[in-house]
Amino acid sequence: MSLLEDIIFSDNPSIWHDFGGTSPGYAGITWQMMIWSIITGLLVFVWMGYNLIMFKHKEGDPEHKDALKAGVFPHERGNPRIEITWTVAPLILVIWLTYISLAPLDYMWDVPDEEETDLVVEVTAVQWQWIFTLPDDYVIPEGFTSCGKFNETGVRQQNMRTTYDCLEIPHGGIIRFNINAEDVLHAFYIVEIGVKQDAVPGIQTLSWIDTSNVKPGLYNIYCTEYCGNEHSKMLAEVYITEN
C-alpha cells in the first residue's frame, strides 16, 4: 500500500470485527464516528473558508459601526436562538454517539464465566515476557505445534501447557484470558483483534474473545502499558488454529 493510500484509507485491523455483530456497518460506532467526524470537520473548514473569501478586509472599506476602540468595552453581539441551536445540536449528537457505544460495550464487558468458555488461558506478564498457561484438564488438540520448537534430537523444547511469548488457541470458541502481572503494569493487546486489557500486579483482570469472529492465523500480542527498558520488545504471538 502506498503512503498516500495509507493516509487516506487507513485500514482498520485493530477494531474488533463489528464488536461481535452488535455494531455492524454504517449504523455501527466505527462508521458513525467516521461520518460525524467528517461532517463536523467539513462544517468548520467550509464555514471558515467562506468567511475568508466573503469578508476579507479590503483597502478603503468603511469602518464598521461597532468597530473596536482601545479602552472601550465593545457592543455585545449574539443571537440566543442561534447560540441555543449550536448548543443543543452537539448535545444531541454526543448523546447519540454515547448511545451507540453502549451495545458494543455491553458485549465487550460481558466476560463469560469460566464454565461457559471453551478455554481459559492464564496470562502472566513479567518484565519482559508473556507466559501463557492452559488448564490441566484441557486436551491440547493434535497438530497444535506452532508454539513448540523441536531441537535436533526431536525433543520438544517447550512444555506445551506453559508457553512463553507464544499461544495457540482453537478457532471457533470462546476464549477467556485471566490476566495477571508479577512486577509492574503491563497491558495485553491483541493488535489485529483490538482486545486490550491492563495487567495489574495484585489484581486479576479479565478479557475474552470469540474466535469464530476472526479468521484463523497468526496474530500479534504487544505490551501497551509502559513497563521499562525492553517494553518495546515485550511481544508475543497468538495462533488461532482450526481444529
Binding site: L3, D6, I7, S10, D11, P13, I15, S23, I29, M33, S37, T40, G41, V44, Y50, N51, L52, F55, K56, H57, E63, H64, A67, L68, K69, A70, G71, F73, P74, E76, R77, W86, T87, P90, L91, L93, V94, T98, S101, P104, L105, Q127, Q158, Y164, V184, L185, Y189, G194, K196, D198, P201, I203, N220, T224, E225, Y226, G228, E230, H231, S232
Partner: protein, 758 residues
C-alpha cells in the same frame, strides 16, 4: 567602527562554532569490533556478521584473578548478558571469541562447548557451546610475570531465530597484571551516552561563545575582565531581581520557549530513533528517558510557563492595575521554575534521567528497574514546579478578584483574562493533589512506604494490607486531565482576542463564551477516568466518564462556532496573528474530533496507548496551545517591545509550521490504527515507510521554528515602530503605551462601555 566590530564578532562566532564542532564528542567510543586481523578467524568459526556494529546493551564480562604468577594455569569465565533473548529459554543464543596477548588459552578438559581451532591461539564456542551465555576455559600464564596481559573478548547475543537479524554483539578488553608488573595509570573515559554528548556539546558551545563575546569586548573597548562583566551585569541585574510583572512575564515566556527548544530537540531524537525499526541510535533506556523528559518538559516547563508568561504580562494590563497582587510571590513562582527544571534534568548527569513517562505510572515508578537517582530527581523537580504553579494560581486569583480598574466588571473582562481566571481555579484544585501524590511517591521510593507499589505488608496479627497501583492513576489523572485544560483554555482566550480584533468587530456571544469556559473548567474534573478505560476499573465509573467526556464537546463546539460567527460579516484582516489563529482553529478541530473518538470506550480500547493517542494530544497541545501562543507572540510582541514583527517572515513561519505539523502528526493516526503502541523504541518493520515520512516532516517542522527565532531577534532590532494600538484592539493593554511605562499605567484607567458612550 560599528561595522568592523560586527565583522570581528562574526568571525569570533564562526571560530567558536568550529571549535565546538571539533570538540563535539563523536560516537566512536567502542573498539572497532571484529575486524582485521581477527575477522578471518572469527568468520571461519561462524560467530560474526550478525550485525555490523557493536551494541552497548550487550555486556561482555571476563572474570579474572587479581593478578597472575608466571607459569600458573588459571580457570577463567566469560559471561555474556543483555541483548536479545536475555532470558532462560531456547537454544542458539550466544557465541564468543577470546584472544590473549600473552600466555596460552586452552579449553578445559572434557568441555565440549569451547574449542581451540587448529593452528590458532584464540578460543571460541562450538556448536554445542552456542546454547550458553557463559563459558569456562583455562589460561596458562607466560614465563614472565612483569607484563600486563590484555584479553580481547567478543560476545554475540543471539535471539535464537533463524538468520542473523536482531542479534547483537559487543566486545571488551580486559587487563591482567603480573605480580611484578608496574601499573600504568590509565583513566577509563568510558562511553558517553547520546544525551550526554548533546549536553557536553551545548556546554562547549556556551563557554566558547562566552569567551568570544567577553574577549571581544575586552579587546575592542580595552576594558578589563571585571569592567566587561560589570557592564553586562548592568543588563542582567534587573532580570534577576525584578518583581515587575512585565519583567517576570518576559522571563517566563523566554524560559518557556528555551525549554520548548530543548524538549523539541528531545522530540527530534525520538523521531531519529524511530526513523527505522530496530534502530540503535539510542539504547532503550536512553529512549525511555528521552520521551519522559520530552513530555515532562513540554507540559510543565514549556507550555505552562509560556501561558503564565503571557498571563503575567497581560492580566495586570488588561484589568488595569499596576502589578500583580503579590509581586514578590510572583518572582518566587518564577524562580522555582528554572530551579525545578534543572533538578529534573540533573538525572542526565547521574547515569540516566527519569524514565517513567510523564505519567510516572506505579509500580514501575516505585520499582528498582526505573532509573536511580534520575527518577528521584524527576519527582523532586516536579514537586518544585507544583509549588510554583500553586503560588501562581493564588496570585492570579487574588489579582483578578481584587484589583480590577473601574469599569472592568466581571462581564467586561477581556476573554483572555477570563480564560486565565478559569485556568487558575483549575490549577488551585488540581496541582496540590498532584504534589501530594508526588510526595507519597517520593516516600515509596526513598523510605520504603507502600502507598502505590502493589506489594503487600503483613502486621503482627497476620493480616496483610496490599497497596493498589491503580490509586496513583486516580490521583494522577484527577490532576492530569484538568492539567490538559489548564494548557488549552488560555489558548482559547488568545484565539478569542485575536479573532475578534482581526475581524474588526466584537466577539460573537461574549456571555456564552464565558459560560462555555467555566463549563469546560467544571467538567474537566469529572472526566479523568477516560484515561483508565483499560485498567479494569468499575464499569459504571467508566460509563459515566465516557458520557461526561463526550459532553466536553458541547462547550468547545460553542467556542468554535462563536469564533466563526465573529468572522462572518466582519472585515477580516489576514495578518500573521490571525493566520496563526485560524490555523489553530483547524488543527484544534481535528484534535477535538479525535478526542470524541477516543471518548467512546469500544474505540478507545482499540486505540488506547497507541500512536492514535499521540496524534490526538499533539493536535490539541501543539496544534492548539503552541500555535495559539505563537499567534499570541505575533499579536502582543508590538505591545511588549514597541516594534512590529516582520510579516513576510511570520507568514513563512506559519506556512512551514502548519504544513509540516500536519505532515508529521496526521499520519500518526494511521500508524496508531495499525497498532503501533506509543513509547515503543522500535516497531513492526511494515510501518517503516510511514515512520520515516513522519520523522522527515517532524525535522522540517522543528527547523521551521528557527525562522521564528530569527524573526523575533530581527524584529526586535529592525522592526517598525508599533504605536500604542497597532491592531485596533479594545482591551486596556492597548490603551497604554508600547512598551508600557515602568508602572504599567501612569494613571489607573477606566474601562468605558460602548453602550454608555453613545
Amino acid at each position: 567602527m560599528k561595522g568592523a566590530n560586527l565583522k570581528i564578532l562574526s568571525v569570533g562566532f564562526l571560530i567558536s562554532i568550529l571549535v565546538a564542532i571539533s570538540a563535539f564528542p563523536t560516537s566512536d567510543g567502542l573498539p572497532s569490533g571484529i575486524t582485521d586481523p581477527t575477522t578471518s578467524t572469527v568468520e571461519a568459526n561462524g560467530c560474526s556478521c550478525h550485525n555490523p556494529d557493536p551494541t552497548t546493551s550487550v555486556n561482555v564480562e571476563l572474570i579474572l584473578p587479581e593478578n597472575f604468577t608466571a607459569g600458573v594455569t588459571y580457570t577463567l569465565t566469560l559471561n555474556l548478558s543483555g541483548g536479545p533473548n536475555d532470558g532462560v529459554r531456547g537454544d542458539n543464543y550466544g557465541g564468543f571469541f577470546i584472544k590473549a596477548t600473552h600466555g596460552t588459552l586452552e579449553p578445559l578438559e572434557n568441555d565440549t562447548s569451547v574449542q581451540k581451532p587448529f593452528d590458532e591461539t584464540h578460543l571460541t564456542h562450538t556448536t554445542e557451546g552456542n546454547d550458553y551465555r557463559g563459558w569456562n576455559f583455562s589460561w596458562t600464564a607466560p614465563e614472565k610475570d612483569d607484563v600486563i596481559v590484555t584479553f580481547s573478548a567478543y560476545g554475540n547475543s543471539v535471539n535464537g531465530a533463524d538468520g542473523n537479524q536482531n542479534d547483537y554483539w559487543n566486545s571488551g578488553s580486559f587487563d591482567l597484571m603480573g605480580v611484578n608488573a608496574v601499573a600504568v595509570v590509565d583513566v577509563d573515559h568510558g562511553e558517553l551516552s547520546t544525551p550526554q554528548k548533546f549536553i557536553y556539546a551545548f556546554t562547549i558551545l556556551a563557554v566558547t561563545l562566552g569567551v568570544v563575546v567577553i574577549g571581544n569586548r575586552m579587546v575592542t573597548k580595552e576594558q578589563s575582565f571585571e569592567e566587561v562583566l560589570k557592564d553586562y551585569w548592568k543588563y542582567i541585574y534587573p532580570w534577576l531581581t525584578s518583581t515587575d510583572h512585565k519583567y517576570i512575564g518576559i522571563l517566563y515566556i523566554v524560559t518557556g520557549f528555551a525549554w520548548f527548544f530543548i524538549a523539541g530537540v528531545l522530540g527530534l531524537m525520538i523521531r531519529l530513533q524511530l526513523f527505522e525499526a530496530d534502530n540503535d541510535f539510542l539504547t532503550y533506556q536512553e529512549y525511555n528517558s528521552t520521551f519522559t523528559m520530552h513530555g515532562t518538559t513540554m507540559i510543565f516547563m514549556a507550555a505552562m510557563p509560556i501561558i503564565f508568561g503571557f498571563a503575567n504580562y497581560l492580566i495586570p494590563l488588561q484589568i488595569g492595575c499596576r502589578d500583580m497582587a503579590f509581586p514578590r510571590l510572583n518572582a518566587m513562582s518564577y524562580w522555582l521554575l528554572p530551579t525545578g527544571g534543572i533538578v529534573i534534568y540533573m538525572g542526565y548527569f547521574t547515569g540516566g534521567a527519569g524514565d517513567v513517562g510523564w505519567t510516572g505510572y506505579v509500580p514501575y515508578a516505585t520499582s528498582e528497574t526505573s532509573t536511580v537517582p534520575g527518577t528521584d530527581f524527576w519527582v523532586a523537580g516536579q514537586i518544585m514546579l507544583g509549588a510554583s504553579s500553586t503560588l501562581t494560581a493564588i496570585n492570579f486569583v487574588t489579582t483578578i478578584l481584587r484589583m480590577r480598574a473601574p469599569g472592568v466588571t466581571f462581564m467586561r473582562m477581556p476573554l483572555f483574562t477570563w480564560s486565565i481566571f478559569v485556568t487558575v481555579f483549575l490549577l488551585l484544585l488540581a496541582i496540590p493533589v498532584f504534589a501530594v501524590a508526588l510526595i507519597l511517591l517520593m516516600a515509596d521510593r526513598t523510605f520504603g512506604t507502600l502507598y502505590f507499589s502493589g506489594s503487600c505488608a503483613g502486621d503482627l496479627m497476620g493480616t496483610t494490607a496490599c497497596s493498589d497501583p491503580i490509586l496513583w492513576q486516580h490521583l494522577f489523572w484527577y490532576f492530569g486531565h484538568p492539567e490538559v485544560y489548564i494548557v488549552i483554555l488560555p489558548a482559547f482566550g488568545v484565539l478569542s482576542e485575536i479573532i475578534s480584533t482581526f475581524s474588526r468587530r466584537p466577539i460573537f456571544g461574549y456571555t456564552s463564551m464565558v459560560y462555555a469556559m467555566a463549563t469546560i473548567g467544571v467538567i474537566s474534573f469529572v472526566v479523568y477516568g477516560h484515561h483508565m478505560f483499560t485498567t479494569g476499573a468499575d464499569p459504571l465509573f467508566r460509563f459515566i466518564v465516557m458520557l461526561t467526556t463526550m459532553l466536553v464537546a458541547v462547550p468547545t463546539g460553542i467556542k468554535i462556532f462563536n469564533w466563526l460567527a465573529t468572522m462572518t460579516g466582519g472585515s477580516i484582516v489576514t495578518k500573521t496573528p490571525m493566520i496563526f489563529a485560524l490555523g489553530t482553529v483547524i488543527t484544534f478541530t481535528i484534535g477535538g474530533i479525535t478526542g470524541i473518538i477516543l471518548a467512546s470506550i469500544p474505540l478507545d480500547i482499540a486505540f488506547h496507548d497507541t500512536y492514535f493517542v499521540v496524534a490526538h494530544f499533539h493536535y490539541v497541545l501543539v496544534g492548539g496551545t503552541i500555535f495559539a501562543f505563537l499567534g499570541g507572540v505575533y499579536y502582543w510582541f508590538p505591545k511588549m517591545t514597541g516594534k512590529m514583527m516582520n510579516e513576510t517572515l511570520g507568514l513563512t513561519h506559519f506556512a512551514f509550521s502548519f504544513i509540516f505539523f500536519n505532515a508529521a502528526f496526521y499520519p500518526m493516526h494511521n500508524v496508531g490504527i495499525s497498532g503501533m503502541p506509543r513509547r515503543y523504541a522500535t516497531y513492526d518493520p511494515a510501518l517503516t515507510e510511514m515512520n520515516q515520512f513522519i520523522s522527515i516532516a517532524a525535522f522540517i517542522f522543528g527547523f521551521a521554528q528557527l525562522i521564528f527565532v530569527y524573526n523575533v531577534i530581527y524584529s526586535y532590532k529592525y522592526g517598525e515602530e508599533a504605536g500604542d494600538d497597532p491592531w485596533d484592539g479594545w482591551s486596556l493593554e492597548w490603551a497604554t503605551s508600547s512598551p508600557p511605562p515602568h508602572n504599567s499605567f501612569t494613571e489607573i484607567p477606566t474601562l468605558k462601555s460602548a453602550e454608555e458612550t453613545e
